[in-house]
């Protein structure tokens, strides 16, 4: 009963005209950037973060969350029609989606992607609603050692899932934590690593760092390529509504994808990309005709698309319950909440229920909006694919510059952003993953506080992290992951997963 009352409150909040507008803007922008290859949801959330400074926190989160799950919807369009994933979570949709389009079945592929996403998105919101409050009550009992251990686990998972050398991923995490030390030490009120620059007194700004690493570095990586013209399947897209046969083939994949996506989305470090790959592998494994996968089967589109959307709902659980983001997009949302003076964690649900329930309500509304946006307007999104990148990239750069400037009205932040843009570009080029860096940067200060307080409480004993059950399990899992990445047999398995991920 309490659940329904809370949901009712959530709908009241999100149905106010201004929040409804921000929800619409969020899902619309999410769809647009999902459709456009070369701009990911991370970059767009970073790009639009400054536009939310002057609105209420709930409206800000509604819009930014809309961008994230909207991008998951839009990403399938380019995968199916162009064979280029709009964002990473749609990579696997290319395999069968594009083949379906080549066979003249682009309509059912797009249709099942949209319906599957809608069903999975809705199911994951129900899961979020049901699980968040009980889990936050458990999380209230967590102490500093548990928080530190869970943050270590999250960073270990993100590093483990990164491509290439595990040492490179871990180095990025170490660099991220180290960057968070710049500025005033809040415990001792002492400046650190600011090189005497007043502008670094408050530390490295989250916005310039994110925009540099994601917005600018992404543009630099794209513009250096000698791109070729994209081949868009523009032959009339008909029959967007899947047939009874299509539904029969897909419903199992959608259900399994939803459950898998939601479960993997909850894990720190998990997320839409991993769940879409796992869903595809599961569907292929249990199918009666695994040999047909890769030739254009509808289950190969329905499962991963459902999984990547369900993962977005699951990803909100660690953010709202523990204040620990499970992936980069969630780290950006955490940043947004912090900019508005809110500290995500178990107390957020008690002290600011409007934020949580307003976001949950908006996700129902947003999912319905996305279904309406994605199916009837598919022709418009296809036209959007024709916008040349040479026109698009100067605008992205301009928005990044304005975004960095507008936080403090300071041109120095633009220079910081440009610096991180170049650093991010070089790091990407040499095979370094940026996700562990960003996640570690966002968590760095919290990690330090939890680490120092744990040591103070335990009279300087490091055993405090291994004698409490939850922290011991989290630390053991983190250690297992990191050690397994070095064992040859596990290492080969990890490299195989990377190869399959493209």
């Amino acid at each position: 009963m309490e659940l329904l009352a809370n949901l009712y409150q959530g709908f009241q909040i999100c149905l106010s005209p201004i929040n409804l507008l921000y929800c619409f803007v969020g899902v619309l922008l999410g769809t647009v950037i999902g459709v456009l290859p070369g701009i990911g949801p991370g970059a767009t959330i970073a790009l639009l973060l400054p536009t939310t400074f002057r609105v209420s926190p709930v409206a800000a989160i509604i819009m930014l969350a809309g961008i994230y799950y909207g991008a998951m919807y839009g990403g399938s369009t380019t995968s199916i029609l162009v064979n280029i994933p709009g964002e990473a979570a749609s990579v696997v949709t290319c395999i069968d989606g594009y083949k379906m389009a080549r066979k003249g079945r682009a309509g059912p592929a797009l249709g099942i992607a949209a319906f599957g996403s809608f069903i999975a998105g809705t199911l994951s919101i129900v899961g979020l609603m049901v699980l968040a409050v009980p889990l936050s009550n458990i999380a209230l009992k967590f102490g500093f050692p548990e928080y530190f251990a869970i943050m270590c686990l999250g960073l270990s998972i993100v590093s483990y899932l990164g491509r290439g050398s595990i040492f490179k991923s871990l180095l990025m995490a170490a660099l991220g934590v180290s960057l968070s030390f710049v500025g005033m030490d809040v415990v001792a009120a002492k400046p650190r690593f600011d090189f005497g620059l007043l502008v670094l007194g408050d530390g490295v700004g989250l916005i310039p760092l994110l925009m540099g690493l994601f917005g600018i570095a992404e543009v630099f990586t794209n513009i250096e390529e000698k791109t070729q013209a994209r081949e868009i399947l523009l032959t009339r897209i008909k029959g967007l509504l899947p047939t009874v046969r299509d539904w029969k083939d897909s419903w199992g994949a959608i259900t399994r994808g939803s459950l898998l996506g939601f479960s993997l989305g909850i894990l720190p470090g998990g997320g839409a990309v991993v769940s879409s790959f796992v869903s595809y592998a599961v569907e292929k494994k249990i199918s009666n005709h695994p040999e047909k996968f890769g030739t254009g089967v509808i289950e190969g589109v329905a499962g991963p698309e459902a999984a990547n959307n369900a993962a977005t709902g699951g990803g909100f659980i660690p953010l709202f319950v523990l204040g620990i983001p499970s992936n980069v997009a969630m780290a950006l949302l955490l940043g947004a909440l912090m900019i508005h003076g809110l500290q995500p964690g178990p107390l957020l649900l008690q002290q600011h229920p409007d934020i949580f329930w307003g976001t949950v309500g908006s996700m129902y509304i947003g999912n319905a909006m996305l279904l309406l946006l994605n199916l009837p307007l598919i022709g418009l999104w296809v036209k959007l694919l024709k916008v040349p990148y040479k026109i698009l990239f100067p605008m992205v750069l301009l928005f990044c510059l304005i975004g960095a400037y507008s936080e403090n009205n300071n041109a120095f932040d633009m220079l910081v952003m440009l610096f991180f843009g170049l650093v991010g570009y070089l790091l990407r080029k040499y095979g370094y993953e940026l996700a562990p860096l960003v996640l570690a940067f966002v968590l760095g200060r919290q990690m330090e506080q939890a680490f120092r307080q744990s040591l103070i409480l335990s009279d300087g004993s490091f055993w405090v992290f291994f004698t409490r059950p939850i922290s011991a399990v989290a630390m053991a899992l983190a250690a297992f992951l990191l050690v397994s990445a070095l064992i040859p047999a596990f290492r080969k398995k990890r490299e195989k997963i990377e190869a399959e991920a493209g």
Binding site: P50, T51, R54, G164, S165, F167, K168, L170, L171, A174, L175, V177, S178, F181, D185, V187, A188, K190, R192, F193, I216, V219, F220, I223, E224, E225, K226, P388, K390, I391, F393, P394, M395, L397, L398, F399, L401, I402, Y405, S406, N409, A411, M414, L415, L418, G421, L422, Y425, K429, Y430, G431, E448, F451, R452, L455, I456, D459, G460, S461, F462
Partner: protein
């Protein structure tokens, strides 16, 4: 990649050692009462250890596998990246002097011309429209206070 990994590992080692040294000067405190430099010192050590591991990994990789001489800088337009970075740097420096509208217009024109061929009139029109539109959106609607610069209206 193995060769560049070795070079990068030296950069990470230098960074880790620098961080440790700087942390010591901040004060490490004790295990019972960690000081300002304690956690940065630990992270500096971690970074140095990981960098050494990366060096060893790339060393054995180069020893076991024949080195493919494929440059990451050939077959890409890296000069375009440098050109665009310089334009952005100039934009950030000149913004307080030229003001938002003029500075943005100039940057957009140069950025548009830096990509695939676009005619000057198109670049000028798109540049002017973007500067105007973004000013209305951010400067007026979202109340971001941009410097006016030489255009004092």
């Amino acid at each position: 990649m193995a060769r560049s990994d070795r070079i990068f590992s030296f950069i990470w080692i230098a960074l880790g050692v620098f961080q440790c040294a700087e942390s010591c000067s901040l004060g490490l405190g004790s295990f019972m009462e960690p000081g300002t430099g304690f956690m940065p010192f630990v992270m500096g050590l971690v970074m140095t250890a990981l960098a050494i591991a990366l060096f060893l990994e790339s060393y054995f990789e180069m020893k076991n596998k024949p080195l493919l001489k494929v440059s990451l800088w050939s077959d890409v337009y890296w000069k375009r990246v440098v050109y665009i970075a310089v334009i952005m740097l100039a934009y950030a420096i000149l913004l307080p002097k030229l003001g938002y509208l003029l500075d943005t217009f100039l940057m957009m024109v140069f950025l548009l011309k830096s990509g695939a061929p676009i005619k000057w009139p198109t670049a000028i029109v798109v540049g002017a429209l973007t500067a105007g539109f973004s000013y209305v959106l951010f400067g007026i609607w979202l109340s971001v206070s941009f410097p006016r610069g030489v255009l004092t209206f």
